[in-house]
């Protein structure tokens, strides 16, 4: 009981009881989810970017390392970057020893996040099913299967019959199809949840522990001190000083780091997604079709949330490339012909930065005190473990073991972590 009381003293507990109690007062007494404190001119840590990674990092800095004099500076609105634009696929079916344990950890953290943050993430562990249409792809997925097993992540092959039983809408890809379905692979650890809840939940919990979140606060440049280390940031609301600054601004990483003369092996790309009109439940797993180049899941609202291939070329414009979009749609219709009658309701793009080897980068830069987390290609699934490991790096000055393979140092001898080209659902 005292645990409950403690939480209440920090933030209003969310439960069916509090909901009922507030209903009786017309919901007039719900407290603010986060404060809007005045911006100070100095913090211990400044986190740039109130997206998933920035907010999670701030939360774990406070919770795990007791660092609470933290400001999260956000150019626009909290949770408005890629966390508002992704397809919420959470999974750990990676190929390499460097990657799998990190994502296994992140998936496990996601599963406990509703309790951790007292905010319903609507985590739905509904499994992901890969629809395999070529033998080389099957070989690659089988390769993952046994490495994943070492780290406790599951991946099982199922027959085409079983695949069609689990996904009745999968009526295409028959024996005479352009790419016939060969079999399925089932990743039971995978799930989806509610992206806004992740942003808001972390923001609320970080705020409750003393972290300040400042929206509409655009960082314009990084300030280098006389000794070459980071000194703070220049914003549209004035100078904010800090000995430690975290850059968590997917897509715009180089835009910021260039203001301090740093060069990073990153390029900014555009990735799009789209949703159908809402319909009654049809597909209860995440369907990934790597050979056809698309994936989707059905949201709790009934929309099919669909993603495909990235666009070519660098882009900071969140745009829809009609030909890329049409390719994704035609691929989808080849396996799900009944979707011809389903309607597109909304589509959007998001930009993210991709590293030279297409794996993430989390490190302290050559500018002491300046940390980056970047190159996340499908970084939504990495938010909890990414935040935890980055908080560890910032607090202790050395990489968390799970992220040790992903430092900038790997480029010194071109020791790439090659996960690229191994899946569609990123």
């Amino acid at each position: 009981m005292c645990i409950v009381i403690n939480i209440i003293t920090i933030m209003q507990n969310y439960s069916v009881f509090s909901l009922a109690r507030n209903a009786l007062t017309g919901h007039r007494n719900w407290p603010q989810v986060w404060r809007s404190p005045p911006l100070k001119d100095r913090y211990d840590v400044v986190v740039i970017g109130a997206g998933g990674h920035g907010l999670a990092t701030a939360y774990y800095l406070a919770k795990e390392f007791g660092i609470t004099n933290v400001a999260v500076l956000e150019r626009g609105w909290l949770g408005g970057g890629n966390i508002a634009r992704n397809t919420v696929t959470i999974r750990s079916n990676y190929m390499r020893d460097e990657s799998i344990p990190f994502y296994v950890k992140s998936v496990a953290m996601y599963e406990g996040l509703t309790d951790e943050l007292n905010f319903n993430m609507m985590h739905s562990k509904r499994t992901m099913v890969d629809v395999v249409q070529t033998w080389p792809k099957l070989r690659e997925l089988r390769r993952r299967q046994l490495v994943m097993d070492i780290y406790g992540s599951t991946y099982e092959q199922i027959t085409t019959e079983e695949l069609r039983r689990r996904i009745p809408a999968l009526t295409g890809g028959g024996p005479d199809a352009r790419l016939p379905v060969i079999c399925g692979m089932v990743h039971t650890d995978a799930g989806v949840n509610r992206h806004d809840a992740v942003a808001w939940g972390y923001a609320r919990a970080a705020d409750a522990r003393g972290v300040e979140i400042h929206q509409q606060t655009a960082v314009q440049s990084l300030l280098r001190g006389a000794d070459g280390s980071i000194e703070g940031v220049e914003t549209n609301r004035g100078t904010v000083r800090a000995k430690k600054v975290v850059v968590a601004v997917s897509g715009h990483t180089t835009t910021l780091t260039e203001t301090a003369g740093l060069k990073l092996p990153l390029r900014t790309m555009n990735l799009t997604a789209f949703v159908s009109e809402p319909v009654k439940p049809l597909v209860d797993v995440i369907v990934n079709c790597p050979d056809s180049g698309f994936y989707f899941s059905q949201s709790d609202k009934g929309e099919m949330v669909i993603g495909g291939a990235p666009d070519m070329g660098q882009s900071f414009r969140r745009d829809i490339k009609q030909h890329v979009f049409e390719d994704t749609v035609t691929a989808m219709l080849s396996l799900f012909p009944s979707f011809k009658k389903l309607k597109l309701m909304r589509q959007w793009g998001g930009h993210l930065d991709i590293a030279h080897d297409a794996s993430p980068i989390m490190d302290q830069t050559e500018m002491p005190g300046l940390f980056v987390t970047a190159g996340w290609w499908g970084g939504y699934k990495a938010i909890p473990a990414g935040g935890l490991t980055l908080a560890h790096l910032v607090a202790k000055g050395e990489p968390h073991p799970l992220m040790a393979p992903f430092t900038l140092g790997r480029f010194r001898h071109l020791d790439f972590v090659m996960e690229a080209g191994t899946t569609t659902a990123r």
Binding site: R317, K321, R412
Partner: protein, 85 residues
């Protein structure tokens, strides 16, 4: 889908082209640079919020490689800042 001007074929849909990446630094003599310089040449490419010079290949057309300046914010194909296109 952009409308890209091929120097030989004129304006064509982007789907006829393959993107060849930004025009980076000139390839240094690999035997005359330090490890750090070599790694930077390999891995760091221009990533401006604004005009970038990049290579495109008219793969489903005449086969010509050419470069354009394109604004990464708007996708407008712009005159080269240094007037070279």
């Amino acid at each position: 889908m952009m409308n890209i001007t091929c120097p030989f074929c004129g304006k064509r849909n982007e789907s006829e082209f393959i993107h060849g990446g930004p025009v980076g630094a000139v390839r240094p003599d690999p035997n005359a640079v330090s490890d750090e310089e070599w790694v930077e040449y390999l891995t760091v490419t221009p990533n401006p919020l604004g005009p970038v010079q990049e290579k495109w290949w008219h793969a489903r057309g005449c086969g010509e490689w050419f470069s354009i300046w394109r604004d990464t914010r708007t996708h407008d194909i712009v005159e080269a800042p240094d007037g070279t296109t």
